[in-house]
């Protein structure tokens, strides 16, 4: 009898489960809303001397997030709750009212040893829970870096991609009249802060590029009359010529492992691509054409190289294996293509395209398909990827006697074009890898 009872109960339960499963509504959502995420970055709590640094850190975090185009920081004036103790759980209802989807709180304190201790917490307002919380110890001078690191952490948690705020840009700062420009190598944080010059402007410099793993850059300079590729140690200021070639070398770039420099070597009106091992100083020729092959850029895994060549009569993009074999053209659109750069993600190649009297910045897949133009205008050139492969920086030159180049960033999707705040004209930017 008991068995029968149990059996019937089990059957009934099974029936109910089946019934409830049938009543479930199942829907698929395959796209989202690409509007910036509303986020509230509160003033970090700080006492005495640390109050200003605390406010500055919060401001830098907010500016970083806003500039990425993926976040819409909410004005402080709209905040209902005032965070006085970041260790307490915030009143989420107050933040829901102002439609903040994420909330950042933090605190800055001075440790007994004089170091700065910076803490932050990222809250999910609608989920009513903490997403992440971290603390950093550093010298007071490094507060900006701490702010960028916090912004990176928030960016990564909310977008699913690595942040790129704790990075630097090397570029050519230009000053003086258009006919007689002074060009200096310059270095700054990605947000334009901490600008410093690496050369004094006595020699023309072009195409600086960061080493992927050392505080080192390579660039082309006309020092000594002949254009040559140089290496520059950022920390020591030590400078050396790459290779000892009788002719000019130009458009250098590091290999992904930082062990080689790839560049063009000019001879008899033609230019071919060479690599040089930085340790053994052995040079290898990769292309051999009666044309101008230049602007080489490695794929992130180092297996392939994209470059531009006019071997077909017009500048087009070509891809070859790292040993120079299997050279094939990938760009077939109208106009000419130049300055290709392989994305750190490995899936896209950014380029400058000249078409219809304009210079455009675009991206294409590595086989040349799905070309997309991100921005166009009188003169856009020299794209460089942020280390997360999500944002591009390039320079745009304005026409006229007073015109000059300025730096801009743009999202991979073609949205969110933003100027980079630099006090002078600037061209040829190159993004650094994430700082360690």
């Amino acid at each position: 009898m008991m068995k029968m009872m149990r059996l019937s109960v089990a059957l009934f339960a099974g029936l109910m489960i089946t019934f409830s499963a049938h009543a479930r509504v199942v829907i698929d959502i395959t796209k989202g809303n690409v509007e910036p995420l509303p986020i509230a970055v509160t003033k970090f709590v700080g006492q005495g001397n640390e109050a200003k640094i605390a406010a500055d850190i919060a401001a830098v975090v907010e500016a970083d997030l806003k500039r990425s185009g993926l976040f819409a920081p909410i004005a402080q004036a709209a905040f209902i709750e005032k965070i006085s103790n970041p260790d307490n759980v915030p009143r989420f209802a107050d933040w829901k009212v102002i439609n903040a989807q994420a909330l950042v709180t933090g605190r800055v304190r001075r440790e007994t040893d004089g170091r700065l201790r910076t803490e932050f917490r990222l809250w999910d307002v609608f989920g009513s829970e903490q997403i992440t919380g971290q603390q950093y110890f550093t010298n007071s001078q490094n507060w900006r870096r701490v702010a960028h690191i916090i912004a990176d952490a928030i960016y990564e948690q909310l977008t699913g991609e690595k942040g790129y705020f704790d990075t630097r840009i090397v570029f050519v700062a230009e000053s003086g009249p258009k006919s007689k420009r002074v060009k200096k190598l310059a270095l700054m944080d990605q947000d334009g802060a901490n600008l410093r010059y690496l050369t004094n402007g006595s020699d023309l410099v072009l195409t600086p590029r960061f080493s992927p793993n050392r505080q080192e850059i390579t660039y082309m300079s006309f020092a000594g009359g002949l254009p040559r590729v140089y290496l520059l140690q950022l920390e020591t200021g030590q400078r050396e010529i790459v290779g000892n070639f009788p002719n000019m070398t130009f458009s250098p770039r590091f290999s992904p492992d930082g062990q080689r420099v790839i560049m063009s070597l000019q001879k008899d009106g033609n230019a071919n691509i060479y690599t040089m091992d930085l340790r053994s100083r052995v040079t290898t020729r990769l292309t051999n054409t009666a044309a101008i092959d230049t602007s080489p850029s490695y794929s992130p895994n180092g297996a392939q190289i994209v470059f531009e060549s006019d071997r077909g009569g017009r500048q087009q993009l070509y891809v070859m294996n790292a040993d120079g074999t299997n050279q094939r053209r990938i760009s077939f659109g109208t106009g000419s293509y130049s300055t290709p750069v392989w994305s750190p993600r490995g899936d896209l190649i950014a380029f400058t395209k000249r078409s219809g009297g304009q210079f455009l910045i675009g991206v294409m897949k590595t086989d040349g398909s799905r070309e997309r133009i991100l921005t166009e205008g009188y003169h856009n050139e020299g794209p460089t990827w942020a280390p997360n492969g999500r944002t591009l920086m390039f320079f745009r030159e304005t026409p006229g006697a007073t015109g000059g180049p300025k730096l801009f960033t743009i999202d991979l999707t073609g949205y969110n074009e933003q100027p980079v705040q630099v006090s002078s004209f600037a061209s040829d930017p190159a993004w650094s890898p994430p700082l360690d």
Binding site: A23, V25, G127, G160
Partner: protein
Amino acid sequence: MKAGMLTSAAAHSALIAFGAFTITAPSALEVADVEALPIEIVTQADVTRIIKGEKDASIADRPAPKPTLRPQIEEPAQFIGEADKDISDEPVKETAPAPVKSAEESAPQPAKEAAPVSTPKLAAEPEAPVQVATLPAEDEQPASEAEPAEEAFKLPERVPVPKSKPTPPKPQIARTNERKISEKPPAKQVVESKKEQKNTKDQIEALLNKQKPKGGGAKQQKRVAALGGTKTNTNAKLSQSELDALRGQIQKCFSVSGGMADAEDLRVKVEFRLDESGALEGRPTVSAQGGNKVARRALAGSAKRAVLRCAPYKLPIEKYADWAEVEVNFSLQDML
């Protein structure tokens, strides 16, 4: 003047008079005497409540046509049950020659040799079945006599066997049934079918009960859910427009960054219960798969926030039973 007036009046009068007698009213449109069409008004919900099948339904069995093709195996047992015909050896003679002939013909021998020589061979062949009939005994089966009797019986009973009459069925009965199972040569069955006649009705029924499922004909078909499409609104009583509205409410709150890396196979499932006001009951359950860890976590967060942020949902209260539980599958498929 007067003459003009008079002429005009006369002319107009004549014209009116002419018109009155000659111009007739247009004929009326003929309306056919048709019965009104019966029109039934159905709601949009009824129309869109289409059974799309279940995504995970098993593949429906197709009718099994093979058994019906089986007759080609052999057809010697046609006279089973008809004692008179069975006793005679004629059918055996008839059936056996065919294969032998063909075998002989295929041999690369000249035609003139085949003609005279092959015929005696054919005559000899018919004896073979008799030997075959004894083979079962060589298989060392105990009760070698009893078993063949049963097997022989199965064949006739396959048809709507007469319950009252123990009379063996008519020729068409035996056909292909069970032969495959018994593997007995036709000749043997013919011989042993004589014994059947002695069996009583009860025995026949008992044998009937033991009989294996029908070998011939199509299988009995069962209604099985068809395989559905990817849109899993199976069993949902909500109309398509109501489902779309719910999708729109959630999607509006689903904030993501376009161009995310490694998002091709990212999938996040959020399950939650709603109360009658459309508000969430408890916390949603979130599970994510695909992509890298960071992307998975970020998309799961976005999906959960979307569900939480857009509650309460506007849904028809009268269909509460149908939307009390909701499962939302998030992906970025259309954003890649």
